[in-house]
Amino acid sequence: MPYTAEISRSNPTSIIFLVDQSTSMSDPIGGEVPQQKADVVADAINRLLTELSVKCAKEEGVRDYFHVAVVGYGATVGSAFAGSLAGRDLVPLSEVADNPARVDERSKKVPDGAGGLVETVVNFPLWMDPIAHGGTPMNRALQYAESLVAGWTERYPAGFPPIVINLTDGESTDGDPTAAAEAITSHATADGAALLFNLHVSAAGGTPTAFPDSADGLPDSYARTLFAMSSPLPSHMRSYAASQGQRVSEATRGFVYNADITTVVQFLDIGTRATELR
């Protein structure tokens, strides 16, 4: 059975985020409170990195079950880490956990216990900043990810295969991304082919199409291209998605079209869900 390898320190896996940083990412995203798409995506990734760090924290500290890369594509293609990790691609999670670019204080309303709300300040570590400038060189971004995936599968041929998560809001400006996407998923470990998930962030609002199992009902050929590029969800992610209230089938793919804020967070949560961590 593919996608069942145990993730351990001696057999870690890698998660590669590809973040669209094109100019259009400064448009507002669909949702209750309008926010820039770039902000929402950066927040979601920063939050996810905190989440992964907590999930992998043990007595002695954060364990390197994962190595994480955050690759931005817009005016340039390359590491989107800010601060001391700037310029790095795959970074062991313990190093990620210890080296955010900075820790912001964010205000947050929480229940005061007496039926009201009270404003508090919480610490929020940040690893990447929102950027929205340039075109959408998705091909180059996918090729960058492919080189990371190729190196990884050589290094850990028996482990859980790398997961590539592409977050974008527009069409590729450097050609059809299909071949570059296929190149990523043609790499495989003994546990299965590398996974590529695509998240399309909406500017238009409307109902998100989350985890579809066929291209029917997708509005245009671009959405169908992204659907075709996306890997089917492995079974443990399917069950997790189902437990989160998603409708899934055997053919469900790791793809969301027209995602709103909630869906972005949920998608990242499902797409990075690990098999057993030991």
Binding site: A57, V110, E182, E276
Partner: protein, 726 residues
Amino acid sequence: MGSATGPQPQFPSGADYAEALQHTQLCFRHPELKGARPELTKLGLPRAISGAFASVFSLTSTSSGRRYAIKCFTRHVPDQERRYEAISSRLARLNPAELSQPWNLGFEYLPDAISVGRDRYPVLKMEWVEAITLSSWLEDNHTDRFAVDRLADRFEALTRDLAAHEIAHGDLQHGNLLVASDDTLRLVDYDGMYVPALAGMGGTERGHRNYQSPLRGNDDFGAALDRFSAWVIFLSLKAIASDPALWNRLHEPSGEFLLLTEDDFKNPGSSTRLQTLLAHPDRTVSGLADQVRSLVFQPLDVLPPLASAVPEQRTAATTTSTVSARGTTAAPGAGGLPGWMIGHVPPPVTPTPTTPSVTSPDGFHTRTPLDVTAAALWPLMLAATVLLVVVGLSMPPIGPGVPVFAAAALTAFARSRREELRQSRAVLAKLTNELAQLDDPVKAAEKLRKDRAKFDAAEAKRAAAYPRAQDKLTAQYHAELKEAEKRKVRKQRDMDKKIDGLSEELRRALAKALTDKQSAYVRDQLGRRLIAQDPPHGIGPKLAARLAAAGIRTAADFTGYRSVRNTHYNSTGAVLVLSSGRGIDVHGIGEAKAIALDAWRKHLVASAEARQPTALSVSERQSIEQGIAHRRAQLTAQRKAVESETDVLRVKARKRLEDGQERLARENTLAGDRARQQRQEFSRRTVALQQNSALHGTLSASVEAARLRQRGLSFARYLRFLYIGR
């Protein structure tokens, strides 16, 4: 494991809790926890220790000053509150004086204790324990054989405590067994604990995979739950106590196990780790390893409790017994070994002493008549010599020395007839012979050492080659899987492309069918318009007849005209273009007539096109769609088939791997048997060498003594004996 398929009650994530715990004044209502100080990471966030079900945070109460471990749940566990209550009340009833060590920790389940977002969730409030995990402790202390052995015994005592109260922890492993500063054990994480009050319920977890029987299932839940893991842990601790080098040899840095892993239990035959322990010279280690090997295939409910390995009643005091004492403490009548070990240990060999029994005589005793004669002869012969010299009698054949010579000859003869001399010579010869029979112990020891070194080197080579050969097999297997996976992805992608292309194909086929239908209609309409019946302007019956003769009867018979230059009259003429594309010159049809004909035709075409059908009939459409649907079904079936082909490839690769592993394991077992025999042979040689060496010493001393005594039988001593009698 997330096997549920429907929505479950949602719990906050570890990071959600870490965020809420930044304000304990707000998130807690419990008086001790409200405002408690969380331990922070260097980023200033509450530090978590996370597991599959929960994250644990350390909080120090500002009101009581006490430190707690607060477990926050990230996943729904059925009957959680009921379980914790049953466990808590059972543990609270344990009498600390009856426990081998204070291993149990107090805890309290607090429903609705913490507020995260808009909702409240339960937490488990536990005593904070200053202790380190068993794996970290071993990392630091594995060379301290005494301490490790003592810990093994304490672990055994702990399992005895649990068994006595029919409690099972459910997940005994290096992370849940902590070692306090006084080297006693603490047991943490009671989520999966069984207490008798929970009888009849199911388990909540299956335990750490590197500690569980391959036969443990989801539903196993009962007092015997810990037995397999207890044997595994006890074996590991005893083995490290006996041979600390095993820690570095079998344990991998940051490996989530002690000495053995899940694979060793699933495939004990091909497990190098288990083989190493089975072949260990220490009988306690090999015996325990053999026990674990035999438990692997037994159903959980028939596994013996660990206490059966150490049958004598122990108290807390016995946990201070020493390494050397432990290996041999035993049940009476078991030959100094635990009961289960009988049959694993051969009876001790009793050496057979060999000592030389014959001795040589110490000097001459009791004169014989010959001795007396020789003694009497000497004075006579001396007197005769003196006489001869004085008289001056000198005969050529008889010199003055002759009588002395005769006496000496007779004496020598008499000595040679003495029994003592014969005996002494015989003894010396026998001893020398025996000594010669023995190998020189120094040389033999040297040879043994060399043989052993050679053997050890060969064994080390073999031991190193085995995992390499296994790795090679595994690598080959992985490569084959990877290849199969790639092939599948490639093929399916091709199929997908074809399937995706079908909609476009359908669209085109429908469009083409419509176009065909329309042009057929137009052609038909044109074919109905006879030139003769409905002549265009300027075409009379004559011309119509000529045209008919040329094969042009209806508007369908030609498609237009081409202007031609008549060289003859230097004027412009025309040829009509037939539907075949051929031009035909019809007498009387000049350019003007051709234009008229063409205009007539074009008009007809336009009016036909205006009336042509604009859609396909339902049946035409269906027939095309069915064709495409058939193709789609075929392609989908082919795509499915790729999956099963891949499965076949996977199964084949797996089979090759297993066959290879089996062959390797078989070879390894044989080689292991041979090695064991060879080692036994070495041991036999060592014992023989020790005995030999003692015998050699004794014999050498005897030879020396015999030589000394033989010197006591010299000619001079014989002469003395002749007159003195000793």
